[in-house]
């Protein structure tokens, strides 16, 4: 086979009037060779997902292709009649999505949904469909394919669901596979397995893959060629090694520089005394069951003891379900722990009454993950920051003056205190959340995945801000994250959690440089593009 299997030729996609720009895509030209993985990388709003949707002609209402061609098997998909387009989707060009839970129909079994592909595009007897489905599930290496075919989506884990999605996409041996952030919702160890699976299947079948991602680590792991997108245009394209090692365009350089290296910076001196001491903390959830029989017991946090030195930053890393968020919420008493103590300045937070805890909140504050959900949409930004001091007895005028000063501190325009949260960008909102937490001048800040929802360049800015504030204000931090690169950059100490337990802890350079526990080693090995960024 010669020549590209899918070609985008000066593709343009128009946005409805009133959007923030006139075109989602402008003059996008890409070519995918058979058996090649082309990674399209960019930040949110760069048009990378729109590229995938434009190829499949799955565009939202009001958005339309208004220029250029999409060439596939000698036909222009941009102008193909809808009926012929349906025959291309799934059979010629298949797609896998970010969130397999929502992409699968919750009311039908996995086998049924994969079998449907044959029902739509090929006329096969029922018996044959069942064998093909089993073969596919075996191919994507789902444990116990027989059972998986009969399972409903919610009965499988996230990684298994994504495998099922891949099986469905590959059912009819498409020549092109479009993968839109297929591993973003997955844990790092699962992500590594899925990436390996995609790479392996694509090699064997010679499929051309258009892989959309925001993560340069994933790019380094899987890409043959890379296209970098910004504001709906391709700013740079080339072989993966070329782009990653010698980026030409300033935007590409900026993106790559923003990827935090896995190697920890030189350790900071740590104080001897502890500001926060956690002893034998446990939290168990019991669901269902009658009179103690048949109940499901989940040990969310199991006998965790940790110590945070004054002025230090303690990272808590782990995958989803490891109990790290529950631990954070137990520390600030959003959740009441079952056992153990949390000592801060002579008080045991775990055993205070509600009223006493309310008074203690001035010493320990929390920063949340979601820059959209963590700010009340009906309050002005200044008010949000001023609320804390007002709850603790400050006058409105004083609190608002303090809010303005804090806006300055976190790098926001003090004049913007009168604006509503939705008028700020994600990074700015996270700064508002930070200002709100700092307004009470706490000794300890508990940050629950504070940069996980942000684009990589914004993430770098917020991390720099956190490091700067820590140095200037002498704040101690508990930093929850699933991203080991981020942990390496900001934390002094790190604790690795698995199934509610701390399996390993110590100075970050020691834990990441010389991991003792097999799970820590597995986590580190799974980081996509491990070598990439190490030298930066």
């Amino acid at each position: 086979m010669t020549g590209p299997v899918l070609t985008l030729d000066r593709l343009g996609v128009r946005l409805p009037p009133g959007a923030d720009r006139s075109h989602a895509l402008q003059d996008v030209s890409l070519a995918i060779q058979p058996g090649e993985i082309l990674c399209v990388v960019g930040e949110s709003g760069s048009g990378k997902s729109m590229t995938a949707n434009a190829v499949m002609r799955l565009l939202p209402v009001g958005v339309a292709i208004d220029g250029g061609r999409v060439l596939f098997e000698g036909r222009d998909l941009a102008v193909l009649p809808e009926a012929e387009m349906r025959a291309v989707r799934g059979a010629g060009v298949a797609m896998i999505f970010q969130e397999p839970m929502t992409a699968l129909n919750p009311l039908r079994t996995i086998g049924d949904q994969i079998g449907e592909m044959f029902g739509i595009h090929a006329d096969l007897p029922r018996q044959q469909v069942a064998t093909r489905v089993r073969a596919l599930l075996e191919e994507v290496r789902i444990p116990d394919p027989e059972r998986a075919a009969r399972a409903y989506p919610h009965e499988l884990s996230g990684g298994q669901r994504q495998r099922a999605m891949i099986a469905m996409a590959l059912a009819l041996d498409p020549r092109v596979l479009i993968a839109d952030e297929p591993t973003t919702a997955l844990d790092v160890t699962t992500q590594a397995q899925i990436l390996a699976l995609i790479r392996d299947l694509q090699r064997r079948k010679g499929t051309g893959v258009l892989f959309i991602t925001h993560d340069f680590g994933v790019v380094a792991e899987i890409a043959d060629r890379v296209a970098v997108m910004q504001h709906g245009r391709v700013v740079e394209e080339g072989p993966a090694a070329e782009i990653l090692q010698r980026p030409q365009h300033p935007y590409t350089r900026q993106l790559i520089a923003a990827v935090p290296p896995l190697r920890a910076p030189p350790p900071r001196p740590l104080a001897e005394d502890a500001v926060l001491t956690i002893r034998n903390l446990s939290k168990t959830y019991r669901t269902g069951g009658f009179l103690g029989r048949g109940a499901r017991v989940t040990h969310a946090v199991r006998d965790v003891s940790l110590r945070l030195p004054r002025g230090g930053t303690l990272g808590i890393v782990g995958e989803s379900g490891s109990g790290k968020s529950t631990l954070a919420r137990c520390i600030v008493r959003l959740i009441d722990p079952d056992q153990g103590s949390v000592e801060l300045g002579g008080a045991d937070l775990a055993h205070l009454s509600r009223a006493e805890m309310r008074r203690q909140t001035r010493h320990i504050q929390m920063v949340f993950q979601d820059p959209f959900g963590s700010l009340n949409p009906r309050r002005r930004a200044g008010e949000l920051v001023a609320q804390g001091p007002m709850v603790h007895g400050a006058s409105r005028a004083d609190a608002m003056a303090r809010a303005r000063a804090l806006f300055q501190l976190v790098g926001l325009d003090p004049a913007s205190v009168d604006r509503f949260p939705h008028e700020f960008s994600g990074g700015q909102r996270q700064r508002i959340g930070l200002a709100r937490a700092l307004a009470l001048e706490p000794q300890v800040l508990v940050a629950d995945e504070p940069v996980s929802a942000l684009d990589v360049s914004v993430q770098a800015q917020v991390l720099a801000l956190l490091a700067d504030l820590r140095a200037r204000l002498g704040i101690s931090m508990v930093f929850i994250t699933h991203d080991l690169r981020v942990a390496a950059q900001i934390c002094d100490l790190v604790a690795v959690m698995k199934d509610g337990e701390v399996v390993e802890e110590g100075p970050v350079a020691r834990v990441f440089g010389d991991p003792q526990h097999p799970y820590t080693r597995a986590l580190l090995d799974s980081i996509p593009g491990r070598g990439f960024g190490a030298g930066a």
């Binding site: 959003l334 805890m357 309310r358 949340f368 949409p377 709850v391 937490a437």
Partner: protein, 276 residues
């Protein structure tokens, strides 16, 4: 601002608003256009509409001016509608907010009480209340409010259930806010839009409930309400049907106006329907 523009883009919503303003104008000008007591005798009984220029909507079976009763009745209907709705929504919001925020046993108890109210037909309960406590304007209004609270309570509870676990509520807790402040200061403003929209339904039902009571002659006989007029007209329904029909149309128009306004508000405030 965007919601206001969205509202005026929908023709039914604008028609509803115009009709509602018309009813309000009737209520406002009643004293000025018909300065006499609308329940005093004005002329010969059962004059057909458009026959006597003094009574352009005619007179009822005891010779009272129907037009005067319609205009003054607009006040009563709006008053009952507004006050009963306010009572129902107020009880509903407090019960729904407390049940939704605290959950658990509190929620179970409050929702069982709401169910007890809901399983009884509204109107039967209303009849019992009015029979026991008498049928003055105040008791009728309060009784209508009391039978109408469970639905707004359930709606508020549902909103609270989804909002109480949002991070901004947790952020409020970590700032040391009291529950009262979290419920009414942080969550309620976000939960309010659907409840306000539902208030229009409650108001329409309240007006209808009062009319139904009056039709059974169980409403306050000492005020000029539309329902009372329909009740009076019942005796002469087969010949002088207009005595019942005219207030009937007034009720229809008012309820329609309130419903259209509510629907319009719903479409304008609900972002999920945008662009449809």
């Amino acid at each position: 601002m965007q919601a206001v523009r969205g509202y005026f883009r929908s023709p039914p919503a604008v028609i509803g608003l115009v009709l509602l303003l018309l009813v309000i104008a009737m209520a406002a000008t009643a004293d000025w256009l018909f300065p006499r007591d609308p329940l005093s005798l004005a002329g010969r009984p059962l004059v057909w509409p458009f026959q006597n220029s003094r009574f352009w909507l005619g007179t009822d079976n005891s010779g009272r001016d129907i037009a005067a009763q319609i205009f003054h009745g607009a006040r009563i209907s709006l008053l009952i509608g507004l006050v009963a709705t306010a009572i129902a929504i107020l009880i509903g919001i407090v019960v729904g907010a407390v049940a939704g925020y605290y959950g658990g046993t509190v929620d179970t108890i409050l929702m069982r009480v709401a169910e007890a109210f809901q399983t009884l037909p509204n109107f039967l309960l209303l009849l019992v209340l009015v029979v026991v406590f008498g049928s003055t304007l105040a008791t009728v209004t309060i009784a209508i409010g009391i039978v109408s609270w469970p639905a707004p309570a359930r709606l508020t509870r549902a909103e609270f259930l989804s909002l109480r676990n949002r991070e901004f509520v947790q952020a409020g807790r970590t700032l040391g806010m009291r529950d009262i402040r979290l419920i009414f200061g942080e969550i309620l403003p976000n939960a309010l839009p659907p409840v306000i929209v539902y208030a229009s339904v409650v108001m329409a039902v309240a007006i209808l409930l009062e009319s139904a009571l009056a039709f059974l002659r169980l409403s306050d006989p000492n005020v000029a309400s539309w329902g009372n007029l329909i009740g009076l007209g019942r005796d002469v329904l087969r010949v002088q049907w207009y005595v019942s029909a005219i207030p009937g149309i007034a009720i229809l128009v008012t309820v329609l106006a309130v419903s259209l306004v509510g629907q319009g508000l719903n479409d304008a405030l609900n972002p999920r329907l945008k662009g449809r």
